[in-house]
Symmetry: C2
Subunit: 431 residues, 2 copies
């Protein structure tokens, strides 16, 4: 789709990489362990264009409602965009299933951050992840936010600022085993902004759910490209649909899923905003897709108990909906996921999932490849080298590809295998 050759990816990037933003993670006190970072703060030097996507779960948490209000979203599913100066995220408590008290606490959090940063409360976006049904305490914010701002102010090197940005990615982790962050840059020379370099940077946390937490997909994207909020929103919605919405760890969507994007314009302070249809906007969308896809794949690979990243690609579907349903059903199948855990190129389970997905096709037409090995052609078994399959299962990523030969549409989903550790992590009693 995109000419990613012109994009430079920085694995050590973070929300602090884009010009005009600072980011940091601190231990504020939501978690008992003083070594554990539990609050992330992302601050824009000036009010930034902002956009967001939120969970569609009917049970949505208080911070989701408050952030929706702050971005003037007219309702669930409608585009949410506006203006923001800061994003604050706590881990440890989800502030979900907390009723009116929870809403009040989320609003007070925004007020507290707004006062410290020097902006109206409705320019503060909030997100939470952790235990449900417990009320958010405000004391950790009262201590953590000033400490975070003070540390940002005293950072005296670009390395220290970069390290602070990565610490923000650590502070939002729950069951994640590693932080997820990065940055993509592209030159302005060919797109009407000679001499400028633009960066799209961000962080995310994983999508598995763990007891007693309802772990949540949360991402924060920052960019120094100049964009109007509605255009940023359109790009974000499209990128999220192609990335985070294509990840499934255990087929659940959480009460707190949130993706924020903020654009400072600081890399081209005098230039016009990137307008849809221009090469600049196209390049920005490519960079945003690249970053979101990288973070999404990292989320899938870090699913609870995961030993393998699984990439499911369905081609030749009659419609885009069929392609998505087929890929999603395969990616959500516990039988497919346990087969991958067992290093078994069990295409029958892939076929059964395709067959019940609702996608329209004839079984006599279907081809399936696992790890690049043809295992099914025209709906029939193909003899394959099982030793070679076992060798290929040693790789960290397992590709499952199906061609339905029913049309031209395709879709890709990312997931992970189902291991004994998944059951252990999710089956251990809360304590």
């Amino acid at each position: 789709m995109s000419d990613t050759a012109t994009l430079a990816f920085d694995e050590m990037g973070s929300p602090a990489s884009a010009l005009g933003f600072s980011a940091i993670g601190v231990h504020a006190g939501f978690r008992p362990d003083p070594e554990r970072l539990d609050m992330a703060l992302v601050v824009a030097d000036e009010p930034a264009a902002a956009a967001a996507t939120f969970t569609t779960n009917v049970f949505c948490a208080a911070p989701v409602r408050v952030s929706r209000e702050h971005l003037a979203e007219s309702g669930t599913g409608a585009p949410a965009y506006g203006c923001a100066r800061a994003v604050v995220i706590n881990s440890g408590i989800a502030n979900a299933a907390t009723g009116e008290v929870g809403l009040e606490n989320a609003r007070k959090t925004a007020e507290l951050v707004g006062e410290a940063v020097g902006c109206p409360a409705d320019e503060v976006l909030v997100a939470s992840t952790g235990v449900i049904g417990q009320h958010l305490r405000l004391e950790p914010f009262a201590a953590g936010v000033p400490a975070a701002l003070a540390a940002m102010a005293t950072a005296d090197s670009s390395q220290e600022r970069a390290d602070q940005g990565v610490s923000a990615a650590r502070a939002i982790m729950t069951t994640d085993t590693r932080p997820k962050h990065g940055a993509v840059s592209f030159a302005g020379d060919d797109i009407g902004y000679p001499g400028a370099t633009f960066t799209v940077s961000g962080m995310a946390k994983g999508a598995g759910m763990i007891m007693p937490n309802m772990a949540t997909m949360i991402a924060v994207i920052t960019t120094d490209a100049p964009l109007l909020a509605p255009d940023l929103s359109a790009a974000l919605v499209a990128a999220v649909n192609r990335s985070f919405n294509k990840v499934t760890v255990d087929s659940d969507t959480s009460t707190n899923d949130t993706c924020f994007a903020l654009a400072s314009g600081a890399a081209a302070p005098d230039g016009p905003a990137f307008a849809p249809g221009t090469p600049a906007y196209e390049r920005f969308c490519e960079a945003l897709d690249c970053l979101c896809t990288t973070l999404a794949r990292a989320m899938a690979a870090d699913g609870e108990g995961a030993t393998r990243l699984i990439t499911v690609t369905v081609r030749g579907a009659a419609t885009a909906e069929d392609a998505d349903a087929a890929a999603r059903t395969v990616a959500n199948s516990p039988l497919v996921k346990t087969a991958v855990y067992g290093h078994d190129a069990n295409w029958g389970r892939v076929a059964a999932a395709l067959g019940r997905s609702g996608a329209r096709f004839n079984q006599e037409d279907v081809d399936i490849d696992i790890l690049g090995l043809p295992v099914c052609r025209a709906g029939l078994v193909v003899d394959f080298d099982e030793e070679e399959a076992l060798r290929r299962f040693e790789a960290p990523e397992v590709a499952i590809e199906a061609d339905l030969h029913a049309g031209e549409e395709s879709a890709t989903m990312w997931t992970c295998d189902f291991s004994h550790d998944y059951v252990t992590i999710n089956g251990d009693y809360r304590s």
Copy 2:
């Protein structure tokens, strides 16, 4: 719904319980272990009214196609009914993904059984369960069918005939840990058939899928009540929708799922057929529901690696579709199933599943009970006695109940917990 107090349930019943039928399981040679029964034969003394429901999976196996043809089904999903003398089921090989050769083998199986029984091939119904992608051998049928008929003919006591019926239930097992069979009887006195007693009997095998098998839900129901095939079909479709279609072990539907029902009329050879709208037909439907529900619950309780039967009931849904979607989403949630395995009354996972199910409701209205304990009221946490919850988790059945307070509709689904053994069973490499 039904007055089941007048129904007598016999746990030792089998397809041989209803008058006019014989049933047996033998070792025919599909499996290497000579001790393992691998072929079941159910024979009606006379041509019987017959009906069936089949998998809706696009990948459907050859025996499904052939049995559909024999019951003159006009297409997938259309009612399938007609006339049958015999049902033959093999375990060990699924005859799925076998193309034209598989269809030919399924047809030859029906011919072989028809010749031995003395009926046209199209009065023989066939089903298979086991490994996919392997061709069915006909030699085991050639040896097993005459042996089965000979054993039926020499059975000289009702106990021996009953034991043979139970052996049929053993012969169709794959990953099932126990056979599933039973019979329900009701008197004809109050329904216009004085002095008569009617029996609805049957067997089933489980719905989990296991490598390298695509294990399959297969059920055979026999009754000595007099019914015309279309009326039997209508009763069967309704009963299957309320029982087998409400069971989910791992959200997969197999390529081979099949439920047959045969009615001999032998308990009222001179009486008129039970006609829809009459008390007799109503009572028959109650008995059929009772048997199918019992077999379905047994299937869920015997899911691969299961330690607990889970019954999910959703009430107060706006529509029947909403109720079904909500109950099904909870029952399919790996997070709910691992929580039950961990004896954790984790209602947040139930709420999250309800919230993403597509059912329409307000989170502020939702009540959830687990094991009879109120754990959520009006969408908020309820403090409950965790020690008491742990005690209740010792029971073999775990009830999860939700009231959406959005309407009058309800639905019940049965499933089992997700254990380490599920991963072990489904993750071990084929060997």
